[in-house]
Amino acid sequence: MLNRLTDALDFQAQALNLRSERQRLIASNIANADTPGYVARDMNFAQALRNATGSMQPAATLSASQPGHITGNAATDGASFSTLNYAAPSQTNLDRNTVDMDRERASFADNTVKYEATLRFIGMQVKTTLSAITGQ
């Protein structure tokens, strides 16, 4: 019963998790803006969400042949690194750093807004469920 109540939140929860992973990824890019040789990464969000919510099989899974092995689940083991791409540099740099600060700042702001949107979706779903429970 409780499962069915929280099932509706699972999708948004996965999206929120991936949004926070992407936030961290972009923060890493901004942090390494002056590191020689650093290559900027970004997440293919649609692909990551498809992998995480299970509507598509992840590229690779861990096989658990012994009792002590952990099962590699792309949805819970961080941002399923297969969906991380390398940013193509728009202007080349002498120190081979490919962080484009304008793009990173824009992505960061974009991700912030979408994170807050996901938070609001979850909040509204919880409110809907609560009002259904109290029956008012």
Partner: protein
């Protein structure tokens, strides 16, 4: 809470940038230093950054912090000025100053302070998001 790592990542970058700012301050302070009795003047210093993975998983590329890997000295010869009356002049009447280039140091300073500001802003945004997440369902 995977977002907590943002503070480690941006914090490491802010720390590295402040170290860079510190080196710039040393260089600018010593811009007009002359060579002592040993004949060698102050040499400009430069920090080099290196990526440092900070995630719980060692291969996790999503938490890449920064650390200062080396502080190297600029080995070019210092500026030599002919001034026989100067107390530090050598036998030929030349005074050796440090090899600090003030213009380069100012540019370095602006770059470091902008990067520092960027990281502080990232931390502020992350803090706002985490606080909003904590208020979820209230």
């Amino acid at each position: 809470m995977s977002m907590m790592n943002i503070f480690n990542v941006s914090g490491s970058a802010a720390s590295a940038q402040s170290q860079r700012l510190n080196v710039v301050a040393s260089n600018l302070a010593n811009a007009d230093t002359v060579a002592g009795p040993d004949g060698t003047a102050y040499k400009a210093r430069q920090v080099t950054f290196q990526t440092q993975l900070m995630g719980a998983n060692a291969n996790d590329p999503t938490s890449a912090g920064v650390r200062v890997s080396t502080i190297s000295e600029d080995q070019t010869a210092g500026r030599r000025v002919h001034d026989p009356k100067h107390p530090s002049a050598d036998a030929d009447g030349y005074v050796t100053y440090s090899n600090v280039n003030a213009v380069e140091e100012m540019v370095n300073m602006i770059s470091a302070s902008r990067s520092y500001q960027n990281n502080v802003e990232v931390m502020n945004t992350a803090k706002g998001l985490i606080l909003k997440t904590l208020q979820l369902g209230q």
